[in-house]
């Protein structure tokens, strides 16, 4: 029998029992749509969390901790494979004060290597990079932390509004537990202002200086503090892999050498593993719905076979092979599965779209919080992989549930069938 004749044959049979087939397709559609929408929530949450993590940090960054980090070790790290840059930032660990044109503020001195910083996106909004130990770059919010001392008590203290480039300011250090700062003043010149951080809630009040400044500051510190164990600077090292794929390799190598490392990749990996299991669980629950629908398909096909027993007998008598009979019935159940799946996919995309549009509004209304609506939360995502998985499950289940009835059809005894009353 030619394929188009087979399709024709199946179509005629389906036409004859429109209502029954329709109800069966409806059940298959509901089961499949349930699976897709349910699992899409897993994909949505996963995606939202993933974006949240990726937004907040640089993905190829690896934080490296070591009890005795120093410049030699840093140089060593730079030479490693797959490493793009190593940023060794050292911050002053004691109280600090800067004064500019009578405005006073507390700014954190961070010593770093500008060459390395530049490789990983450190950029200026104006000015240039420092060229000697008295030149510094200041963070984008530096001025906002320079306050007129007389207005400190006021609700809106007045802050420095003027230009910063070329300005000199004095920098002093002191101990938190002492009221007076160390008397030594260091005069610094602002030659650049750093770009604003990507996230608008992050404020950058730092003073960025070259490591050339360290000896002077250390001298001041040691002249006041003679505790062997206390250090003026504490450092942190970020290693940047060339790209995301290298992160695991680099961080594993570092771990093996006794460094404590932390990277976003580790966190993402854990998240991905968790969500893989979570999504699999959702698909499993959804599959139960499809299995319930499959009972309907099984019933419909069994009835179809029973009803057509005599016709099947005639077909066999005039020479239809058992294989053909089986195929015709399998095609019918597959058709139910395929149509059900197609409708389910369309419906699921609709439901997903509406959910993403309406749910944030409902949630924010319920919590009385406008913020949530503006947050970038996706409740439901249907990637093509999910469509493939759901279709495969749904159509396979449809065919499996049609398999027994189809077998039953092939087993029909010609003589018994022909004996049936018309």
């Amino acid at each position: 029998m030619q394929v188009n004749d087979q399709i024709d044959f199946v179509r005629q049979h389906i036409k004859k029992n429109k209502l029954r087939v329709f109800m069966t397709i409806l059940a298959a559609t509901m089961g499949t749509a349930f699976l897709i929408v349910l699992a899409s929530v897993g994909f949505g949450i996963h995606d939202t969390l993933r974006n949240e993590i990726l937004d907040n940090r640089l993905v190829n960054q690896i934080e490296v901790y070591s009890s005795e980090m120093n410049q030699v070790k840093v140089e060593d790290l730079k030479k490693r494979e797959h490493v793009k840059a190593v940023v060794f930032r050292q911050s002053v660990s004691i109280n600090q004060q800067s004064e500019l044109d009578g405005f006073i503020g507390s700014h954190n001195m961070t010593v770093t290597e500008f060459q390395e910083e530049a490789k990983v996106g450190f950029a200026l909004q104006e000015g240039r990079m420092p060229e000697n130990e008295s030149e510094v770059v200041v963070g984008s919010h530096f001025a906002e932390n320079l306050i007129e001392p007389n207005t400190v008590e006021e609700a809106e203290p007045s802050t420095y509004k003027g230009s910063l480039i070329g300005k000199q300011f004095t920098y002093k250090m002191g101990l938190y537990e002492e009221k007076e700062l160390f008397p030594e003043e260091t005069t610094l010149t602002i030659v650049g202002v750093a770009k604003e951080p990507a996230k608008d809630w992050i404020m950058d009040f730092n003073i960025y200086a070259d490591s050339a400044i360290m000896p002077d500051l250390t001298t001041i510190f040691t002249s006041h503090v003679d505790d062997e164990n206390s250090e003026l600077f504490y450092g942190n090292v970020n290693v940047y892999a060339k790209n995301l794929e290298n992160v695991t390799a680099v961080s594993k190598a570092l771990k093996d050498e006794g460094y404590s490392v932390y990277s976003i990749a580790d966190q993402l990996e854990q998240l991905d593993v968790f969500f893989l299991a979570f999504k699999a669980g959702l698909v499993f629950v959804g599959t139960i719905a499809i299995l319930i629908a499959s009972i309907g398909i099984f019933n419909t096909m069994t009835m179809a076979v029973t009803e057509r027993t005599r016709e099947i007998g005639v077909m066999k008598a005039i020479g239809a092979s058992p294989k053909l009979i089986q195929r015709l019935f399998l095609m019918e159940s597959a058709w139910i599965g395929i149509i059900g799946t197609i409708i389910a996919v369309i419906i699921s995309y609709g439901v997903s779209f509406i959910a993403n549009m309406v749910l944030p509004i409902i949630v924010s209304a319920a919590l009385g919080d406008e913020e949530i609506a503006s947050l970038d939360i996706t409740f439901s995502i249907i990637p093509w992989q999910l469509v493939i998985i759901a279709s495969a499950i749904s159509i396979t289940v449809a065919m499996i549930s049609g398999w027994r009835p189809a077998r039953k059809a092939t087993k029909i005894d010609v003589i018994q069938a022909l004996r049936q009353e018309i």
Partner: protein
């Protein structure tokens, strides 16, 4: 054309464990020649239909050999049997056995579909046969819109459509009035003459048996030649 040797068959009846064997065919041997009309007569329940079912491959015999042409069909699997039927046999049944959901035309067309003949090649052939059996007028009618005689003509056309060398007919006129019966028998005879088709007709009716070249009598599971055939 058909050679049968020592064909034996019995049915098991009764509940499992307490089955009884009822022998229906007790070692039949006979031969049917190409182009003959052979009729098998006998009382109801004598095993005529069972013999036909075995010859057609609907039923496997307990023992015995069936040879059709050069082919030993008694050892066929179910699928082989089906394929052989499609290529070599036509069937005419007492209650016509048409597909209720198909028109007269589509019923005649069905075996060609099963044989994988393309649509454009089917059309003409079906038309020709419908004309031959005189049903062109009603080709778009469904079986329940046709008289018994018309339905039987449809089933004859269906039996002929694949040009089989052998046609089996089990009580072909059993459901028809005597006038229609005559029409059908004449049609069978003319098909036998013009196309050389071998007919094996099962009947309990002497009028039908008279159309045959030879008549076998079924009695008590045994077959004997003789009786009312027109040649005898």
């Amino acid at each position: 054309m058909i050679q049968v040797q020592e064909l034996t068959h019995s049915f098991k009846i009764g509940k499992k464990g307490k089955e009884r064997k009822i022998p229906v065919l007790k070692g039949l041997s006979f031969a049917i020649n190409e182009g003959e009309i052979v009729s098998i007569v006998g009382r109801s329940g004598s095993g005529k239909s069972t013999l036909l079912h075995i010859l057609a491959g609907f039923l496997k015999p307990d023992a015995g050999i069936i040879q059709i042409g050069d082919v030993r069909t008694s050892t066929f699997s179910e699928a082989e049997s089906a394929k052989f039927r499609l290529d070599h046999f036509g069937f005419i049944f007492q209650n016509f056995q048409l597909m209720p959901g198909l028109t007269a035309f589509e019923n005649v067309e069905l075996p060609l579909k099963l044989a994988g003949v393309a649509k454009k090649d089917r059309q003409k052939k079906v038309q020709q046969l419908l004309q031959l059996v005189g049903l062109t007028e009603v080709q778009d009618h469904y079986p329940n819109e046709l008289s018994g005689g018309q339905q039987q003509r449809v089933s004859i056309a269906r039996a002929l459509i694949t040009d089989p060398p052998i046609i089996f007919a089990d009580e072909p006129t059993g459901s028809l009035d005597s006038e229609t019966e005559q029409d059908i028998l004449l049609l069978i005879q003319s098909l036998n003459k013009t196309r050389g088709i071998t007919f094996i007709i099962i009947t309990h009716d002497d009028t039908v048996a008279e159309t045959a070249d030879r008549v076998y009598k079924m009695h008590d599971g045994e077959l004997s030649e003789g009786g009312v055939g027109h040649a005898s």
